[in-house]
Symmetry: C2
């Protein structure tokens, strides 16, 4: 993912300003609140949404002062959604790096998430342009819809492509799309600029989540930073699974494995093998490719400049990333 | 509490419109999301915030069309905070009526809360007046700060008046204050109207939370709808406790009881007896009285009309309510 950030050379210095501002914004007199927020910031993250926001701004009277509150707000919304995703029920465990939940518990997670989200609203309320508020509030509603759908359909093998696309649009694509679009909007860009950016963001967001879901099954465990098959363990039915449940000669066995709410490592690996052999991985890469192609079609509508080349490379990179 | 709503006769019909709109707003294609939201609405609630919002509007060119999105948004923010308060950790249990958490689990609670809150943002973003967005985003940040402080200070006997007032201002008073103020703002009222309403709301909000905290110890269990001493069980140190920890001849014993993370009913009743005998209840009622007095001083600055009398009665009612 560092390679992806290398692509963003034109905004490197301003991303540092965003980073400083993120640490600044979460300071509060409450020690615990500051500690948990700083923990989240230190845990890293690619700051993709601020990056896309700044790149969007580059298409029209770029002004970091106009972009800074928005770029920070986008990352805060993303962080809030991550920390809320960590909230679990008593029966569940989560592997990998310590999360806010693991360190401080569910109740703190929920209120820290609320705090970060509310902080983003203060930043957003500094903009007079109603489109910014409207897009971000719509996106927030839909992000929650996506999360709820993910929970209510977990371990459910009767899912179709439309359910999957409904979910990843809400979970991922909408906020990336908003980031690309609103960066341009914040700088005063007209529709001819911000609409293609919105579509570009939407399609790379979809492709990004599909490759994320593929990598959860095929990535090198060390590069991924967590054990593979996490989605299968949590009962999240992703694109390769939907394909395999339809096409695999061993779909009955796969079905039995998927619905088990507690799976052994061996069962997870067996499910992944069935999915791989079904062609589900290749199918999913092909779908991601189609989205990337669509992203590039919309990008082509924008004026030629170095940023356009960067966004083309970013789209290309999503296809080939390994982690 | 029904008596309180009787006071609000002037806005009875418009409150019904708010109620209908609340049910309308939470409709979504997602069955689970609609079901949980409707469950929350059916669980009742006094709709105090919408009521104060409409009453605020009565002081200046009252227009239900201008007030409706705001009144609904205020209740949604309140509901979101309640459902997030239900999120618990594995070690905790909660008594009383089934909550969203008890019925659907932590993960659903967190995302339903996010959904309701995000829905409120869509409504708020329909207002052009920046003060509305600013006050509500500030209030949301501070509400989270209050919740975090409540968690981080639970079972901690080294708390002072300022910690308590910091918390109840954030947990309760700010949103009631915003409701009173912004109702007037939404109708285009000038500062001379909305500032006294802000202060009135703040002081009755403080008094309201203090009496709530008193009732948690002295109310009739059936009228309260839950066992008494809930705050003590959860380790929340309220005003009567702070007083007793300072003044009671049995403060050492009280301290030992308070810090126990699991208390028997007998221990809860013993703690309440110590607090009552210390004069902590009377002291707290006196503080609530002082806030009510302050609320009335600010109310006096407003033009005389029937709504002003209603708000005076509402302030008076907070003192004498039994549940």
């Amino acid at each position: 993912m560092r390679q992806l950030l290398k692509l963003f050379n034109e905004i490197k210095d301003d991303l540092k300003i965003v980073e400083q501002e993120l640490y600044q914004v979460v300071q509060t007199p409450d020690a615990l609140l500051t500690e948990t927020s700083v923990h989240l910031l230190n845990a890293g993250g690619k700051r993709l949404r601020p990056a896309f926001c700044l790149l969007g701004g580059k298409f029209y009277n770029y002004d970091i002062k106009k972009l800074l509150p928005l770029a920070v707000a986008l990352e805060l919304i993303h962080m809030a959604s991550l920390v809320h995703d960590d909230v679990v029920d008593a029966s569940m465990t989560r592997r990998g790096m310590p999360t806010v939940k693991a360190k401080w518990g569910n109740r703190i997670s929920v209120h820290v998430g609320d705090y970060l989200f509310a902080k983003s609203l203060i930043l957003i309320s500094s903009y007079k342009e109603p489109l910014i508020t409207r897009v971000l509030s719509d996106t927030s509603v839909k992000m929650s819809e996506g999360e709820i759908q993910q929970i209510s359909t977990s371990f459910n093998v009767n899912q179709y492509l439309k359910d999957y696309f409904y979910r990843i649009k809400r979970k991922t694509a909408l906020l990336i799309s908003a980031s690309c679009q609103l960066g341009a909007v914040a700088c005063g860009a007209p529709k001819e600029i911000y609409l293609p950016l919105n579509r570009y963001g939407h399609y790379i967001g979809m492709a990004f989540q599909i490759t994320d879901d593929i990598l959860d099954m095929v990535a090198n465990k060390n590069k991924l930073g967590k054990p593979i098959g996490g989605d299968l363990r949590q009962g999240i039915i992703t694109l390769p699974v939907i394909y395999a449940l339809e096409k695999s000669p061993r779909k009955e066995r796969l079905r039995d494995l998927i619905v088990k709410e507690v799976k052994s490592d061996k069962e997870v690996y067996e499910a992944i093998e069935i999915i791989k052999k079904s062609g589900g991985i290749k199918y999913s890469f092909d779908i991601a490719d189609k989205y990337i192609h669509k992203a590039r079609i919309h990008l082509a509508k924008l004026p030629d400049n170095t940023i356009k080349s960067t966004l083309n490379l970013a789209a290309e990179f999503i296809k080939v990333r390994k982690f």
